[in-house]
């Protein structure tokens, strides 16, 4: 086998030779992110409850930390995990070309067609290595929401030291709302993502074993 052929296979993840659908770094960062996100969201809900933005509280049973101080300890511990893991994912996603290969381009006409196909049960998932337009849009969207939630979180955490960043979000109070809505977007994605993983179990298997 020539070097050229090997290279060709590396670029074609679903090659008949059985290359991994998801390389190890994708699977690792995916599951580390899942743990970090659950800790951040659970503790974030407890923190929200100390000074709610809207006329509702999160039920204490689904929050993390027990009380405000405990939730803050979890939140500011897991933030390191979330950010370091997220940076590794972004750097590798860009450096390996995975984002470019998998997530773009996203054409509005394809998004519409694939959305229609999904709701009429005509969307197939035969080749897990190729994302349909709706998947591309959602995966790219949740990456952006992840970036926004980290930046707005920094703006809330350090509104004096990072006041220029806080100003970008429209000030301290506005940044709290941005942080909340980014959380809501991620939770919305999470619900859909888990439903789809259960409907297409081989996609869950692929994210664990790589195949």
């Amino acid at each position: 086998m020539s070097i050229g052929a090997t290279h060709e296979q590396a670029l074609t993840p679903a090659a008949p030779t059985g290359a991994a659908i998801h390389p190890l770094w994708v699977r690792l960062t995916h599951w580390v992110n899942a743990v970090a996100m659950i800790i951040m969201i659970g503790s974030g809900w407890q923190i929200y409850n100390a000074s709610p933005l809207f006329a509702f509280l999160f039920p204490p049973g689904i929050t993390l930390g027990g009380w405000l101080a405990g939730a803050l300890l979890w939140h500011f511990a897991a933030m390191w995990l979330l950010v370091v893991n997220g940076l590794v994912y972004l750097v590798l996603g860009i450096a390996t070309g995975r984002f470019r290969r998998k997530l773009v381009p996203i054409r509005p006409s394809e998004v519409l067609a694939d959305t229609k196909a999904a709701f009429t049960g005509k969307l197939t998932y035969d080749d897990l290595s190729v994302y349909n337009a709706v998947q591309k849009l959602l995966y790219l969207g949740v990456i952006l929401a992840g970036i926004v939630i980290v930046l707005s979180g920094l703006a809330i955490w350090k509104p004096v030291q990072l006041q220029e960043l806080t100003a970008v979000f429209g000030g301290y109070d506005a940044a709290r709302y941005v942080h909340f809505f980014a959380m809501a977007a991620i939770v919305g994605f999470f619900v859909l993502h888990v439903i789809m993983a259960l409907l297409v179990p081989k996609s869950l298997r692929a994210m664990i074993t790589g195949r």
């Binding site: 409850n49 000074s51 689904i62 993390l64 405000l68 101080a69 300890l73 350090k158 030291q161």
Partner: protein
Amino acid sequence: MPRIRKNPTGVDPQLLVKDAAKLMPAPTRRLFLRGGASLGALAFLTGCDIVDSASAEHVLMKISYFNDRAQAWLFNPNKLAPTYPDSAVRRPFPFNAYYPEEDAPEVDKEDYKLEVGGMVDNKKSWTLDELYALPQETQITRLICVEGWSAIGKWTGTPLREFLRRVGADTRAKYVWFRCAEGYSTSIDMPTALHPQTQMTFKFDGEILPRKYGFPMKVRMPTKLGFKNPKHVMEMAVTDKYLGGYWEDQGYNWFSGI
């Protein structure tokens, strides 16, 4: 000794419930790891019950100490908190404490003497008249509570660094510690104590600091969360010894810079 009419430390816990209920589950202040169902989700994901052990709390506190150092590193002693026009001041300014407003300590202005101790040249106590005679400035800055809400206020007083200079404080010391009339305490890092906006506050919104906002003196620092801004300050000490504080000892992050 200054006379204090009410002393909320050791009062009936019922009295503390009103404002503190959302802050802490009644019997388990430090057992903050006893969460709810989401802890179950964590245990499920990790395959072990990590959160039922004291070691988890230990690890979280270690990370909190690491975060103290990270925040000290991030703290720029020359970076000023944003200031606002007079029209932005919240009136009335929200009262917030771990006791209800009627239990705010009442300090007698005639008897009051600020005690100064630790690594300072001059340990004489200061009467209110002596304190009022110090040069004063006014700041309109945003107070941010650890709970998340914020409010813009107008505080007038003497920069703490000016006072520390006058008492001959050893500014190579690590901490400045404050003790309050009702038993509250907190401590801050020296760079924050020397920050130009860290202020010994005698007035709020142009009026002598009312009892509910910390009469006769609070220490205002717009570079830290609200609970790091002690009210009814009776004593300060310059020290190399870590002395924590009321909330810090219960699990709140010590540095709590913003």
